[in-house]
């Protein structure tokens, strides 16, 4: 099984990296949006390999669909930009941006790997020893959804409730924003159309 596992991991990771790079480098913003879907789905694949089926599907539901639709709508809202080709211009500021991004990336990499190490030391999740047979059985038959549910309503009740407040704030923000736009609409003068 290890071979298959590794095969899957590298295949998905390959797709993910390609998709992520295309999001950044593709000339048209709509293409970027499409490759973003692929990237999100690949991330979901990685989650599955990590035994996190619920998170994987949430990833598809929220990111691959919800966020993507928001992105596409945002593209539509910006009108003509969607058709423009966006090439990266090699100006000094681009190099500067690359430098900053590089430093940031290295920092993250360093933190993450270190963090993993410490996590692996502390918890059993990342330990090399196999989980108990009971855990495996639960995972196989019920997935992680129930486990997450129990955790949410015992250990993480407060964050869960705070989350609803956060979502409430998001609704309010969205409504206020939309109202503002609607009130500020200037009545566009009707244009005379020339006959063709």
């Amino acid at each position: 099984m290890d071979i298959i596992y590794n095969l899957f991991f590298y295949a998905i990771a390959f797709v993910l990296v390609i998709a992520a790079l295309s999001v950044v480098f593709l000339p048209r913003i709509v293409y970027s949006a499409v490759s973003m879907i692929l990237a999100f789905i690949s991330v979901a694949g990685i989650f599955v390999l990590l035994n996190a089926d619920f998170v994987a599907i949430s990833q598809i539901m929220i990111y691959a669909v919800g966020i993507t639709i928001i992105m596409i709508f945002a593209i539509m809202l910006t009108g003509r930009v969607s058709e423009k080709k966006l090439w990266i211009a090699f100006a000094p500021r681009t190099l500067f941006a690359f430098a900053i991004a590089g430093v940031f990336f290295v920092t993250i990499l360093f933190t993450v790997t270190n963090g993993f190490k410490s996590l692996a030391r502390e918890s059993s999740i990342f330990s090399t020893t196999l989980p108990s047979i009971e855990t495996i059985e639960t995972l196989q038959t019920q997935g992680t959804t129930g486990i997450i549910g129990k955790a949410l309503f015992t250990k993480y009740v407060l964050p869960f409730e705070i989350l609803s407040l956060l979502l409430l704030a998001a609704i309010l923000g969205a409504v206020v924003m939309a109202k503002k736009d609607r009130d500020n609409l200037i009545n566009p003068t009707t244009r005379l159309i020339e006959e063709d």
Partner: protein
């Protein structure tokens, strides 16, 4: 099936790993054949039923009762020139029908058609069904955008707005099922609906433990939303032919159009299967036992044959219930005019969403007390 397949490979001396990797081909072929057969029959059925409802004969030229009409249509679409207008975005224009079609096909794999006929049996299957079905929305928006046609774009945007608005009450209605069954595995949801509510001869019928009884409001919400999700009248605004000519697929022709068409009908079928699975007991017989088993158990004593009979009957019940649901959907199509875009949206947000939340609360309270009573 799986075991037999692996065994054959082992006998041929091919490594098990290879057998495991190639195994998914078999269920996929089954699912693909099922999908095509279902759509062929469904299109014919829709045309026939609509014809009967509107005092016509319907297709009756190709084959007996016009039975091969759909096949003829499919061949025609296959051999049709694929016209792509100059201003389309060719890559997305080709990709969009695939994005719309593929998720629907995957959902076919997730559905329990009988006790054993589940190609992909996932613990979180129900959740994945909705994640997948909402991906089609992206495909439709892309189709509308790539066509560079004003009607397509309007249709695509409408479709996206409609699909995302109806997705919410749909998912919340499904939550009540998850509460009742305590699982997201579709097979387990079906099994949880067996048994009736007491041991009596009549009350032990499966009908009495179908989810439709505690979650009736949820059923109504789910039914309406699934009609909206598959863009049927009265929610067929994305392709309202009197307004937007043909909506997002105005520019499509040939096989690309056929994929949209196929996806639409396949989605209609699978949504009905989902309704049946979630609310109407799936493949379970409405009675306490399978008819064929009770009928033949005194004659045939071979357990395996009885088992096969049971599976056939399960498939029969599922298909029968599904086509009943589909018949109602077609009936609705023949009866109602279509809604306006703003009415459609307010219907979803101001009526269905509160209703689905009410349903969820009712079901949660019901479940709480029923567990309390059962100990």
């Amino acid at each position: 099936m799986h075991d037999i397949y692996i065994e054959i490979f082992n006998k041929l001396g091919i490594p098990t790993v290879l057998a495991e990797i190639t195994w998914p081909v078999i269920p996929f072929i089954f699912v693909a054949i099922l999908l095509i057969l279902v759509v062929i029959f469904l299109v014919l059925m829709e045309r026939k039923v609509l014809a009967w409802l509107t005092v016509r004969k319907g297709p009756n030229r190709v084959g007996p009762f016009g039975f091969f009409q759909t096949i003829a249509d499919a061949i025609k679409l296959l051999c049709k020139e694929d016209i792509m207008s100059k201003d389309t975005n060719k890559i997305l224009f080709t990709l969009a029908p695939m994005i719309v079609f593929a998720p629907i096909m995957i959902i076919y794999g997730l559905m329990p058609f009988t006790e054993k006929f589940v190609a992909i049996n996932l613990a979180a299957g129900l959740f994945l069904v909705f994640a997948l079905s909402s991906i089609t929305t992206v495909g439709i928006v892309l189709a509308g955008w790539a066509s560079n046609n004003k009607y397509s774009l309007l249709g695509g945007m409408r479709s996206a707005a409609q699909a995302i608005s109806y997705e919410i009450p749909l998912v919340i209605a499904v939550l009540s099922i998850a509460v009742l069954a305590g699982t997201l595995n579709l097979s387990d949801i079906v099994i949880a609906q067996a048994g009736g509510f007491s041991d009596g001869a009549f009350f032990s019928w499966n009908v009495f433990s179908w989810n439709i009884i505690p979650a009736f409001i949820g059923f109504v919400v789910f039914f309406i939303c699934s009609i909206a999700e598959v863009n049927r009248i009265p929610f067929d605004l994305p392709e309202a032919e009197s307004e937007l000519v043909s909506g997002y697929n105005t520019e499509y022709s040939g096989m690309k159009f056929a994929l949209f068409f196929l996806a639409e009908y396949a989605a209609m079928f699978i949504m009905s299967v989902l309704i049946v699975t979630l609310f109407l007991g799936g493949y379970l017989s409405p009675f306490s036992d399978y008819l064929s088993v009770t009928l033949f158990q005194n004659i045939i004593h071979n357990q395996n044959i009885l088992y096969i009979f049971m599976h056939i009957e399960q498939g029969f019940w599922l298909i029968a219930k599904t086509y009943f649901v589909i018949f109602i959907i077609i009936w609705i199509r023949a009866t109602l005019p279509r809604l306006r875009a703003d009415q459609l949206m307010s219907f979803a947000w101001k009526f269905l969403l509160p209703l689905s939340l009410v349903n969820l609360t009712i079901v949660a309270v019901f479940k709480y007390f029923s567990t309390l009573m059962n100990g």
